[in-house]
Structure formats: C-alpha cells, structure tokens
C-alpha cells in the first residue's frame, strides 16, 4: 500500500491544527484588540508612542536590547485592601464593625479616622474576607470599597505596579517582550528612572551609573564633537523610547488600586459586592491619575 498520501494528509492536518490553534484563533481574539479606557479615568490606553520614541524602538530592535531585557512584569496573585470611604451616620455601629475587623484599633484612633477618610481597614486580604468586611461595614451604614492590589516578586522589586497585558503593546513593532533577564525588566523603566541624562550616561558607560553592571557600553551611539561627547540621534531616540516605557495604567484585565489619597469620598459609590473585578478603584475624580499613559 502506498502510504504517501496518508503521510501528506497527516502532516497537513497536524500542522493545520496547530496553525488554527495558535495563529488563527489568537488573531481572532487578541489580534483585534483596541485601545480602551483606563479604569476610573476617561483616558484611552494605550496611546501610540511619540515619533522619536518609535524611532528609538528601532534602535532597541537593531541592537538587540530585548536579548537581555524583558518587558514583562509578572504577578503571582492579587490581594484585596478594604478602604473605609465614609463613616455614615451611625458611628457606634461602624465603630463596633471596625473593632470586629481590626481588633487592635482603639476607639480614639477610630474616631480620628473618621475625620481623615478614606482609611485602610484591611490590607492583603483574600477576596472573600474583603467582601465580608465590606458587607459588615455597609451593614453599619458606612461606605467601603475593595481595592485590588497585584503582588509578586517583580512588583515587590519595583518593576511595575501590575502584570503586563497584551494591550500594553498594541502599537509596538516589533513587540519587544524579551526572553531573558540578563538585565532588569524595562516595562516601567521610565517610572524608576525618568532622567534622560542618566540614561545617556548609562548607555555610554553603564558601570559609571551602576557599579558592577554587566551591560556593555554603547559608545557607538555617541560621537566626539569639539572634545565633547555628544549623543547621536540614535541615542536620543533610544532614550526617548526608554522614557516612554510605562505600563501601569489600571485596566479591566489588570485592575490596580489607585492611591487611596486620590479618592474623593463624596463622589465614590460603594461598590456592588458581586463583581470584584470591576470594583477595583474608587474613581479619582479630579485628582490626577498616577497612571497616565506616556504622552
């Protein structure tokens, strides 16, 4: 029997299956992603990088920065914080509820809280605990909110506030996710180091800025002019790109707690108990959001 056709069909359908699964289906799902509004702010995210930063991505690609630097913040879990937003009118009931939730809290301290709301009632709690706490406080006539806080070693290192999601790279070509961390993660490097001059010095001689760094110098991005070392346009563009790296906007798929101080209690609705994912942050109306996309 001639197995040739069978062999051809086997290879064809096996590869077609994989192609359907990992090329066509993902394209249908995330290939058509659109910018969306950030949670709690009427701002579209992501914004396209400015032109100079886009040229910088080209320098980043050509010199293989992504070979040593990832742009993926990972998170191991999310925990919940419970914020007391408004004490309501029934102070004794709220106090007893607070006492139940925070046995260590003295009554005087609690009363002081009422004048400086919002205050954190629970931190690092599981979703169910947070839910119960909110119910308890609402039962006492107070307003409370659950904040979702991403945690993980990358976040603890200060590499980002939340995990990286597909939407962060909507306008990048090529997407420089990176596959190794020979150097630190750069997903939010502009937050850590917003100083362009620092970046230029670091590119020219990394060991000056970071003792013991394993990064090679990129002197070919600079030139000597009248005894001065001046960055070439490539270096300027690369730094502009690095300064545009910021992926910490709170999104539906990666909720994030806004800074508690930003909340204006009067404008905040007590969140519904059921949908935790949607209830992450009180609307920071008026207050400048900390997570503005790069302009």
């Amino acid at each position: 029997m001639n197995y040739g056709p069978l062999l051809f069909l086997a290879a064809f359908f096996a590869l077609a299956g994989s192609w359907f699964g990992f090329v066509l289906t993902p394209q249908a799902q995330i290939g058509q992603l659109q910018p969306t509004n950030m949670l709690g702010a009427p701002t579209l995210y992501p914004q396209a990088r400015p032109g100079l930063a886009r040229q910088g991505l080209d320098v980043y690609r050509a010199n293989g920065c992504a070979d040593c630097h990832s742009q993926q913040v990972r998170q191991s879990a999310t925990v919940c914080d419970v914020l007391l937003l408004a004490a309501g009118t029934n102070a004794p009931a709220v106090l007893s509820a607070l006492h139940q939730l925070k046995p260590g809290l003295s009554e005087a301290d609690a009363r002081q809280w009422f004048s400086a709301l919002p205050q954190p009632v629970l931190q690092g709690a599981k979703p169910t605990e947070a839910d119960d706490a909110v119910k308890l406080l609402k039962g006492a006539g107070a307003k409370a909110s659950v904040l979702i806080v991403p945690v993980g070693s990358d976040i603890a290192r200060g590499w980002g506030k939340r995990r990286t999601v597909a939407r962060d790279f909507l306008y990048d070509y090529p997407v420089a996710l990176g596959s190794q961390r020979i150097g630190p993660d750069l997903a939010n490097v502009s937050v850590r180091q917003p100083d362009a001059a620092w970046h230029l010095r670091h590119l020219y001689a990394p060991q000056i800025e970071v003792k013991g760094s394993a990064m090679p110098p990129y002197r070919f991005l600079f030139e000597k002019r009248n005894n001065e070392i001046v960055p070439k346009p490539e270096a300027v563009a690369l730094v502009a790109y690095l300064l545009s790296l910021r992926a910490d906007a709170p999104l539906f798929e990666a909720p994030l707690a806004a800074a508690p101080a930003a909340a204006a209690p009067g404008a905040t609705n007590a969140p519904p108990e059921a949908d935790l994912a949607a209830t992450n942050a009180p609307a920071p109306s008026g207050a400048a959001p900390t997570n503005a996309p790069a302009k």
Binding site: G4, F8, A11, A62, Q72, Y173, R181, Y218
Partner: protein, 509 residues
C-alpha cells in the same frame, strides 16, 4: 497490501529492479556536497560568533567598540547562522540522501538542488550581514531581515520539491520509518516559514500577536522540525551503524504521531501576557510529547542493543581494521554511531527539560532565565547537531568513495563536541535555576542575582570554545575528503585529456 513495511533501512538489494547504491550516491554527490559543506562552514562561523557573544557576558567591554560587534547583533547573527546555515541546511542534505537511499532511486534533478543550496547560502549570507548591520527583525529564531527571505525561501522550496519528487519516484513502495519523519519535515518548513514571514515581517500583525506567532514559529522550527529531521536520521543510522534491525517499528511511528500532533502545540511561555488558555494549551501539548520521548528512547534502546552500544563505545577509528574490501567506510562507523547515540540521549534530556518547564510552578522559576537557552543548546547542539555529525560521517565517505582523511581528528571532534555541549548547557541550566530562585526573592538586589550567574557563564564559555574547535575539526575532515575526491577526479580527467598528447610518443600513463 503490506502494513508491516520495511523494518530495515536500505536492506541489501533483493530484486532485479533495484538501483545500485553507487548510482544513487553519484546522483546525490554534488548537491549533498554543496549542502553539507555549506552547513559545516556556517557551523564554524556560528560557533566563532557564539564564542564572542559568550565572552561578552563576563567582560562587557570585550569588542564593544564597533556597532556590528555589539552583543545584540553578534548573538542573533550566531544563532541565525547556526539555525539556518547549519541545522536546516544539513538537515535538508541528510534528508535528501536518506529519501533517495530509502526509496532506492536517484535524487530527482540534482542540479536544481544544487541551485537551491546556492540560493539558500546566498540568502543566509545576506541575512547574516543584515543582522550585523542592524537589520534584525527582532523576532527570535526569525532574525534574518526581510530582504534575505526570498532567497532562503526559494532555496528551501527548490530543495523541498526535489525531496518530494524523490519520495514520489521511489522504487521501494514500502515506507521505512525515517521516510515518515523526513517527508513531514520537508513539508513543515515552507509552511511555518511563510506564515511567520508574512505575518511578522511583510504584513505584521498587531501587538502581542507578533510574539504569539514568533513563539509558534520558533517552537515548530526548533522543536518539531529539528526533531523530525533529526529523528529521521537517527532511525536510519542507529540500525544501520549498529548492524541490527529496527526493533518495534510501531513504537517509532507512535513517536512520529506524537511529535506531529502535540509537538507543534508548545512554545508559549506561561508568563506570557496573553489570554491564559494559550499557555495552558501549550503546557498540555508539551506534556503529551512525553509519549514521543518515551517511544524514541525505548525504540532506540532496543534497536541499538548491547552490540550497538559496545560498537559505539569501543571502536576507535584508527585501530579498527577494515572488515571488507570495497567498504572503506567501516572504520568510521563506530564513531558515527557514538555521535548518533549521544544525540538520542540529548534528545531525551532536552525533551524532558522541556516538559518540566512547561509546568507553571517550575516555569515561574525558569522563565526569563538562562534555563531556556540551556534547553535550546541541549536540543539543537546536543541532539540535532550530534545526530547530523554522525549522519555526515556515515554519508560523506560513501558519497566520496574514500575514507575520512583524519580519523583521529574525527575522534577528537566527538570529545570536543560532547564535552563542549555538557560544559555549555549544564552551567547555563544551573545558572538559570539559581537566577530564577533569586529573582523570586525581592530582597536580593538584581546585581547580586547577576553576579551569581557569572561563574556558570565563565564555564559555559569554555564549552563554547571546545565546541568551536570541534566544529573546525568537522569542517576540516569534510573539506579534506572533498578536496581528495576532487583532486582524484581532476587527475584522472587531466590524464584523460592529455592522453592524446602523450600517445604519439608512445608514453602510457
């Protein structure tokens, strides 16, 4: 109808219609020489550049001056030269020879294959310089710039079509296991390469979709293609060189099906910023390739048997006496078998490493560390390259009708390559685990994490150096064989041409 199919590779000619093997070899000679010599040359180039990029990790200032020698260009240039210049090219060459031999037919239109090889090498050369000039695409395993693609693709199509035609024209209708693997590999590459090129370079998709397709491509190339082509050679050469029959053919075929069906579903890292079903599916697919690993291990173990192992371990090329006149390649067979069996062991190691890191608790540690490159090295160098070395030492002497010129060098090649791979991959794997564990502890400063990996990186540079030396030995042997063959041909052609000149004088050569 014969469901058994043949269980021995290229059994001795039994019927009248069979073609003498010398004729088959003659039809393969020029095309295969072009492919294998090109591959060996690229291998040397790749290992030289890999050595440079490896040194840069512990001495960042090393060759940091000119832009084209920066790590981010040298490294992709080395890996592209290795992957496209060596792996794919040598894999195609060995596949063609096996398809011709197993089908007992001459290679279809060898000159077109030679053309394909020339185009392929031109394309890889353009791509290689393109990367050094700063035109890399930025997608791992697909780094050669778009303008090199047409040549590479056309070259692969020319070679692939002739492979398919050779398969089609086979005189032996029954299929041997290797043919399943090799035919699928022939078919695989143009599809994945064209998909990746079109969707990543020509009409790029949006956002993270690029990474998804790049992962899909890299997995299909570096896992599925290398496994298919490499195992095709393994299942031919292990029985052939061990002088035994393939045991349990169905086991080998189940490996084929497992690779085909599950192997191509891997490659998406668990940490990837994509919807969770993709890494989950990828984990399941990778996990199921265990079937292939077990089947290959068992099948090769049974086929090689004690005799095969003894043959691989004992025979030292220089001392082994020729067993038969007219079969001058005997002395190298034990060494070739040793290469192939080393490849099979590495295949199992790489395969199980891959399964291991597909589990999220493990990948949380090993993702984005040195463990990934370690795994790639075990798979590409330890398995594929070693299997191809064995195959080349088995094939080229037959093609050229002569012995390996420097058997001692070939033996040294084995030791350099095998010790080199271990010294390259083992420290990187250890470094990866250490790095991953320390990265998970936010109290350890990042620079300290980098420092822990440095000793391991130094050792792996030693591995790179040994392997580079081994590759030079490989190239020297192949080139020596080719030069000897050409010189013999040239001498005989010259004497044939000049015969008339001397005849009147009565001189007889």
């Amino acid at each position: 109808m014969n469901l058994r199919a043949s269980s021995e590779p290229a059994a001795a000619a039994s019927s009248g219609c069979d073609m003498p093997t010398s004729e088959i070899d003659a039809s393969c000679r020029l095309p295969l020489l072009a492919l294998l010599m090109g591959a060996a040359a690229w291998l040397v180039v790749a290992s030289g550049f890999a050595l440079i990029s490896s040194i840069k990790f512990h001495s960042p200032g090393f060759l940091a001056g000119p832009a084209w020698l920066t790590y981010g260009r040298v490294h992709p240039a080395a890996s592209s030269a290795f992957l496209y210049g060596f792996c794919l090219q040598s894999g195609m060459g060995v596949s063609l020879w096996l398809l011709a031999r197993l089908g007992r037919t001459t290679l279809s239109q060898g000159w077109l294959v030679t053309m394909g090889a020339v185009l392929w090498n031109l394309g890889v050369t353009v791509g290689f310089w393109g990367i050094l000039a700063g035109d890399r695409t930025g997608f791992e395993a697909l780094d050669m710039p778009g303008y090199a693609t047409p040549m590479v693709f056309l070259g692969s199509v020319l070679v692939g079509i002739q492979g398919a035609l050779t398969f089609h024209q086979r005189r032996e209708q029954r299929l041997y296991v290797s043919q399943w693997f090799l035919f699928a590999a022939l078919f695989w590459f143009p599809w994945i390469y064209s998909t990746a090129q079109l969707l990543l370079v020509t009409f790029p998709v949006r956002g993270v979709m690029q990474s998804v397709i790049a992962w899909w491509y890299a997995d299909n190339l570096r896992v599925v293609w290398l496994w298919l082509a490499g195992l095709g050679a393994v299942f031919y050469f292990v029985p052939k060189l061990a002088r035994r029959q393939l045991q349990n053919r169905n086991l080998a075929l189940s490996a084929f099906w497992a690779i085909l069906l599950f192997g191509s579903w891997g490659g998406i890292p668990n940490s990837a910023p994509v919807p969770a079903w993709m890494p989950a599916l990828s984990t399941v697919g990778t996990l199921l390739t265990t079937v292939a690993l077990l089947a290959v291990g068992l099948s090769v173990w049974k086929t090689a048997g004690r005799e095969g192992l003894a043959r691989a371990l004992q025979s030292d090329p220089p001392e082994t006496p020729r067993q038969e006149e007219g079969k001058p390649v005997d002395s190298i067979e034990g060494l070739a078998l040793r290469f192939v069996l080393f490849g099979v062991v590495s295949f199992l190691v790489a395969g199980f490493m891959r399964v291991l890191v597909s589990f999220p608790p493990v990948s949380n540690i090993t993702d984005l560390t040195w463990f990934g490159p370690a795994m790639e090295h075990v798979n590409a160098y330890g398995f594929f390259a070693m299997a191809i070395f064995g195959a080349a030492y088995g094939i080229v002497p037959r093609l050229m009708g002569g012995e390996i010129p420097w058997p001692r060098l070939a033996r040294a090649h084995f030791w350099l390559a095998s010790v080199g791979v271990v010294l390259l991959a083992a420290p990187l794997a250890i470094a990866g685990v250490l790095q991953g564990l320390k990265l998970r502890n936010p109290d350890i400063a990042f620079l300290d994490v980098v420092k822990t990996t440095l000793p391991c990186l130094r050792v792996s540079t030693m591995g790179d150096l040994l392997m580079a030396l081994g590759h030079v030995a490989f190239l020297a042997n192949l080139a020596g064989l080719a030069v000897r063959f050409c010189r013999a041909r040239a001498v005989s052609a010259f004497s044939a041409l000049t015969l008339d000149l001397f005849k009147p004088a009565g001189a007889k050569p």
